[in-house]
């Protein structure tokens, strides 16, 4: 298991690229998410139904890859730091699609005593199309503060 290290505000660079990863989506991913997430619309699990309404197959609930995408933030920033997470669903994800999960820093700033970083997020398919365009705001600790806590 890969434990996530805490990211400190001082270390964040402008337009920094967040670590990306790829997942090839299988029907198992799609169905497993249906079971875990609880959206039982037949277009996400019933192949016969999907074909009967003219679709090539079932397709993923947007929140499946929308959920996978949170890891771009948490693997980079640490746990429990997300303040805001927003997704726009811009394309459909089909079985066998290869998805790339991406992000970068858009802005770092201080507001109401918090150290905030806005990030841009994306899920691209193998054709280079965005299937999700997202944004997140994280609140990060500072090294200085962490050092003070240690000394106490």
């Amino acid at each position: 298991m890969n434990a996530n290290a805490q990211r400190y505000f001082e270390d964040v660079k402008d337009s920094e690229t967040l670590p990306s990863f790829e997942i090839i989506i299988s029907r198992t991913h799609i169905i497993k998410y249906v079971g875990a997430g609880g959206d039982f619309q037949p277009i996400h699990h019933d192949e016969e139904f999907a074909k009967s309404i003219g679709l090539p197959s079932i397709f993923a609930n947007g929140l499946m890859h929308g959920g996978m995408l949170t890891r771009v933030i948490t693997d980079w920033a640490g746990d429990g730091v997300i303040k805001r997470y927003k997704l726009r669903f811009t394309g459909i994800v089909w079985p066998k699609d290869t998805l790339t999960f991406l992000g970068n820093v858009r802005k770092k700033y201080q507001e109401n005593g918090e150290n905030l970083v806005d990030c841009t997020l994306m899920v691209k398919n193998q054709k280079g199309e965005n299937t999700i365009e997202g944004e997140a705001t994280v609140s990060l600790p500072t090294k200085q503060k962490a050092q003070q806590v240690k000394e106490i």
């Binding site: 298991m1 997430g37 609880g38 619309q41 929140l63 890891r71 948490t74 693997d75 726009r88």
Partner: protein, 152 residues
């Protein structure tokens, strides 16, 4: 036609228990191996009361609604054409991290309803469905805002 007079209307309240086993299942379904979602000991070593709720976990609220088809029925009652509606956007705002073992209370309501002209000259109706989650002291901890787009 979408019934604009339903804006602001509260649809339901429900208990939302944040369960460790359900978190494990959810984290698995979004392919995130982070031990913060699986191991209580590890989560405690990081200063949390128990394993963390993944950021998009609140979408599993449907398991706790009065009926399985609650959201579908609600969109129908709003006058939306289910076959021509899409889930366009979702936004989460977090006041603090939530851990397994907490019992949240959810309140689901209709937010803003507005229209925009589509590129092809038609009218698109945007309907917000807002779910607020409160902790045992009735402090708001998470808000999930969904935007559904009716293209009929």
């Amino acid at each position: 036609m979408v019934k604009k007079e339903m804006s602001g209307q509260k649809l339901s309240e429900f208990e939302f228990p944040v369960e460790k086993g359900k978190i494990k299942e959810f984290a698995n379904a979004i392919c995130d191996p982070n031990p913060i979602y699986y191991e209580s000991e590890y989560a405690r070593s990081k200063g949390f009361a128990d394993v963390l709720m993944p950021p998009t976990f609140p979408v599993s609220f449907t398991f706790h609604l009065p009926s399985e088809n609650f959201v579908l029925e609600a969109t129908k009652n709003l006058g939306m054409d289910v076959g021509k509606s899409v889930h366009g956007e979702i936004e989460f705002i977090y006041e603090r991290p939530v851990c397994a073992g907490e019992k949240l209370r959810g309140e689901i309501s209709i937010g803003k309803i507005y229209e925009k002209k589509s590129k092809h000259g038609g009218t698109m109706s945007f309907v917000e469905m807002v779910i607020e989650y409160f902790d045992s002291e009735y402090r708001r901890v998470v808000v999930g805002k969904n935007v559904f787009i009716d293209q009929s």
